[in-house]
Structure formats: C-alpha cells, structure tokens
C-alpha cells in the first residue's frame, strides 16, 4: 500500500534526505508559475505569510468600520445587520485568515531548517493546502459583496463560532458560504497538520532526538495534533448545520427534537483548543527570541515541553466554560470551572520559564525582543483575566460583555499577534538577507503598544460597567470609553501601515544580514546564509 500511494504521486516519492540531493535540484519557474506550482517549503512559507499579512489588513479594515460605528452612541454608519456581518468577518478572517496562515507560513519556512530536513515531508500536499486558502477567503467574502448588488442577504453575521444560531436567525446564502469556507479551511488545516506531524517525527537530522528538537517545532507538533483532534469535530458540526438547513435533518432544531445546545458543545469542543492552536506557535517561538537577546540558552526546555503537552490535554476537557450560562448542571459548571483554572498551572510554568530566560541575562532590546517582552506582558494580562472568567459566579455577570472582548483581544492580539510580529522581525533578516530599519521597528513597537492599550483598556471598563458585546448601539454612559477605544483602534490600524513599509523596505534592500543575524542566535537555521539557498540540508547535518 505504501508503494501504491507513493506511485500515485501524492508525495514526492524521493527520499527527503538523501535522494533529494541528487534529484530535486529543479530551479523554480519564473514569474507567477513559480508561486502557483512551487512545492518548496520556503516559497510556500512566504506565500502563507503573505496571505496572512494581506488578510490581517482585510480583517482590520472590517473592524475599523465597526469602531467607526461605535465612535458615538446611536446608529450613524451601519445597520445592525451590516454591523453583525462586519464583526463576524473580522473575527473569522483574523483567526482563520491571518494568524493561523501566518503561523503556518513560519512553520513551513522554519521547521525544515530547524530540524535539518531538506523540505516538508509532503511538499505537493503542502502546495495544495496553501492554494485552498485564497478560494476559502473568496467564498467567505462573496456574499458580503453580493449584497451591494441586490443579491442575497449578506455574509454570515453570527459571530466567529456561529453558535448564536438557531436555524431561523439568519437565512440566505451567507451562512452556507461560511460553512463551505469552514470545510475548505478544515481540509487545508488538516493537510498542513499531518504534514507537520510527519515532518517533525520522521525527517529530523541524525542526532536530533525529540528532546533536542527546538521548542518552536515542539509547539507546532503539539498544535498539529490539536488540529487533527479538533478540526474534524468543527467540520462535522458545520456539515450537520448544513444538512439541518437544506436536507431536512434536525440535529440542532429544538422544534423537531433536535438540541441547539449540541451545536454549542460541538463548536466549543473545537473552539477552545482553537484558542491554543492560535497561541501555541507563538509560545514556541518566544523562548528562542528571549534566549537570543538575553545571551542565554533556552531556560527550562523540558518543563516547557511538558507544559505545552499538558495545555494540549487540558484544552480538550474545558470547552463548556464558554457555555456556563447555557443551563449546564451545577456539577458540570463546577467541573469546567476548576478544569479551566487548572490550565493556569502549565501556563504559569511557561511564563516563569520565559522570565527565567531573561533573568540576569545580558539583555539588549532590539525590535524582536521588544515584541517578545510585549507579548509576555500583554498575554499575561489576557491569561490572568482568563483565570477569573471561568468562575461560575463571575461568568454569569461578564458573559457576552465587553470584558470578554477585552480578554480575548489581550490573548489573541497581545499573545498571538505580538508573538507573530516578534517572529517576523526576528527571522525577517533570515528570510530576506537584509536587516530592517531598527529605529522604525522600535517606533512600530511603541506605537502598537500604546494604541493597543488605548483600544482595549477602555473595553474592560465598559464591560465591567455592563456593556454587552455584539451590539451596534449602546447606552450613553458607555460613550467616553467607546470614543477612546475607537480612537485607539484607528491609531492601531494606521500603525500597522508602518509595518508594511518596514517589511517592503527590508525586502527591497538594506544592510546585508549575516548568516548568524543576531549575536546570540542559536539553531540550525542560523548556520545557513541569509537568505538561505533554495535547497538546504540536502546532506543532513549531524546534531550533537
């Protein structure tokens, strides 16, 4: 069977460590064909990261419209229906279109370099996995634009997990398109995840035992397993929703014996691990950056590996803390409360290891280090509030309030996006062969920190004062906080244009980067020139 599959051409049949040296010296096509047909992990990494970057700005534009509406009380710019579509698209795009693809781009580019492999294990599947993404994005956005031409009722407006639905809340094509988008994203994510598992387990250079594998690869290996376990449930739930809507089944239809709460269970069984799927890649790369700029080895390597594994396990047994107001039995509420709080133990291990890495280190504060420290600080605030929210009594007050919005933006933006930006600045010279403008990088960091906090700190206060989320209008007493938050959001959005300028300038030229790039950098990728050649580690390195 193994032979049969290889001959079917699903994989490049060549051995990835030995025969590749003899066979796979094909040079890239010129122009657009290079990017359409490439199976090279570096090309695909760049494609994934570029796609994630573009979608980051698309998702950002949607939320600018939302914040413009919330600048003043009353309805000025958007109808409530349009408002729902915009925040839903913002969330779906940022999570599935921006952060996840960007992290996947990093893994594509870096994992083979970090483990001394010539490419990912399944290069053709890798190409397929990427090119599904643009079609999924178009599918998600088509109904949004069609409504302006009088066709359909717009895109989905049910929130990123679509669990606000009963079947009658929104009809029309928007939800169906979102369901097909989810199914496509599922295929893309699963092919990527299987690729990562096989690459990490089967393609390591001689001498690189699992406990010598870089933490970023560990984090991605665990993330990949989480995707493999959680994504099929999400896809199945989306399929059930589709058959309920169009094929006469009643999985979630209470009027016909179905159970709407089942949809929440299934979606959050995916949704909570998804939070860690977004965060784990960042948790894996931050120790590398902190160690580099502290001139120390990674601190608490084994403890971090075990903590990541523990978080993976715990993330699958806490999903109903998102449903504490849905009428669960008291015993279940108490269980989910304590199980969720238990996640703070391995998370604290990680935070203490990050702090241990910089303790008494010879620290310097280049842009990647600033973003890494910003990550620790902001993610810490998101994590601490995450410890409070599953408290059953507290949750009853804060459920669906702006406290929740502030909390998950401190984790997703403060954790995920700060982490991705730290990684981008850290490895950008490796990718491009040029150093970026350090002064502009630092300016970008400080403007991001300031505008991020101006945006989200007021949302804590609005939430504590009782402002619900998912509403286009609000009571007058929330005006000041919303005004400040909107101004911060506009500044945060504008600041990211500076990032584009820095990256484009770095790609086009600048001082040459050495192979080592940063003085304290460690790892196989830094033994290669910057940028690395098109084919690398054709002869596997020996790891001691």
């Amino acid at each position: 069977m193994a032979r049969f599959i290889i001959r079917c051409g699903i994989f490049k049949g060549e051995d990835m460590t030995e025969a590749t040296a003899a066979v796979a010296h094909d040079h890239p096509h010129a122009g657009i064909m290079r990017w359409l047909t490439t199976t090279n992990h570096k090309d695909l990494g760049i494609l994934y990261m570029s796609f994630g970057g573009i979608m980051f700005f698309v998702g950002g534009l949607f939320i600018m419209a939302v914040r413009a509406e919330l600048l003043y009380p009353g309805l000025q710019l958007l109808s409530p229906g349009m408002y729902n579509q915009l925040f839903t698209l913002h969330a779906l795009i940022m999570v599935f279109g921006a952060i996840m693809p960007f992290a996947t781009g990093l893994n594509n580019y870096l994992i083979p370099l970090m483990i001394g492999a010539p490419d990912m294990a399944l290069p053709r599947v890798n190409n397929w996995g990427f090119w599904i993404l643009p079609f999924a994005a178009v599918l998600l956005l088509i109904p949004f634009f069609l409504q302006f031409f009088g066709t359909g009722s717009g895109a989905t407006g049910l929130g990123w997990m679509m669990h606000n639905t009963t079947l009658d809340i929104q009809s029309g094509i928007g939800i169906d398109f979102a369901i097909f988008t989810i199914l496509l994203l599922g295929v893309s994510s699963l092919t990527g995840a299987i690729n990562v598992v096989v690459t990490a387990l089967n393609m390591r250079a001689p001498g690189m035992v699992l406990m010598k594998m870089p933490l970023f690869v560990w984090a991605w290996l665990i993330t990949a397993f989480m995707l493999i376990l959680a994504m099929p449930v999400f896809s199945a739930a989306a399929t059930m929703l589709l058959t309920d809507r169009h094929f006469g089944t009643h999985f979630f239809d209470a009027a016909n014996g179905g159970d709407p709460i089942l949809l929440q269970h299934l979606i959050w069984f995916f949704g909570h691990p998804e939070v860690y799927i977004v965060l784990l890649p960042a948790w894996g790369l931050i120790p590398h950056i902190l160690a580099t700029f502290s001139r120390k080895p990674v601190y608490g390597y084994r403890a971090q590996v075990y903590a990541l594994c523990a978080i993976c396990f715990l993330s699958f047994i806490v999903w109903s803390h998102h449903m504490l107001t849905s009428g669960l039995p008291l015993a279940a509420e108490v269980y989910f409360m304590y199980a969720t709080m238990a996640i703070s133990v391995p998370t604290s291990v990680l935070v203490f290891c990050w702090l241990g890495a910089i303790w008494r280190g010879a620290m310097t504060f280049e842009t990647p280090m600033l973003f890494a420290l910003g990550f620790v600080a902001h993610f810490g605030m998101g994590a601490l509030t995450g410890l409070v929210l599953p408290d059953v009594a507290v949750n009853a007050q804060h459920h669906n309030s702006y406290v929740l919005v502030a909390h998950f933006h401190y984790t997703f933006f403060g954790g995920g996006i700060f982490g991705m930006m730290a990684a981008l600045y850290y490895w950008l010279p490796k990718f491009t062969g040029h150093m970026f403008d350090e002064k502009l990088g630092r300016l970008h960091f400080w403007l991001t920190v300031i505008s991020f906090n101006i945006t989200f700190i007021p949302q804590w206060f609005a939430g504590l004062d009782g402002m619900p989320r998912h509403v286009a209008d609000y009571a007058l007493r929330f005006s000041a906080m919303n005004f400040i938050s909107s101004v911060g959001a506009f500044l945060l959005g504008l600041t990211q244009l500076l990032l584009v300028y820095i990256v484009v300038r770095c790609v086009r030229g600048g001082p040459k980067a050495t192979g080592q790039v940063w003085e304290g950098a460690q790892g196989l990728e830094f033994t290669l020139p910057s940028p690395p050649p098109y084919h690398t580690f054709e002869t596997p390195p020996e790891v001691k």
Binding site: A2, I6, T17, V198, A236, D259, L266, A332, Y335
Partner: protein, 41 residues
C-alpha cells in the same frame, strides 16, 4: 530495505493512520455524544 525506504514507508503509514484518525473523529461526531452524556444534560 535501506534507511531511505524505511523512512518512506514510515511516512506513508503515518499519513494513512492520521487520515484514518481524522475520518473516525469526523464520523464519531455524528453520534452526538454531548446529548447523551448525563453530566452535560
């Protein structure tokens, strides 16, 4: 069987096993377990 063939074979079996796992989880979701678990009702 040389090391190259062994690795190739391991890769294929790993992929097949993971794809089967995905298929099983997808199918098992339709059992609607949360509806039947007394602790969640």
């Amino acid at each position: 069987m040389n090391e190259h063939e062994k690795r190739e074979r391991r890769t294929v079996w790993l992929v097949v096993a993971l794809m089967l796992l995905v298929a099983v989880i997808y199918a098992a979701t339709f059992i609607k377990l949360p509806v039947w678990l007394p602790a969640l009702k």
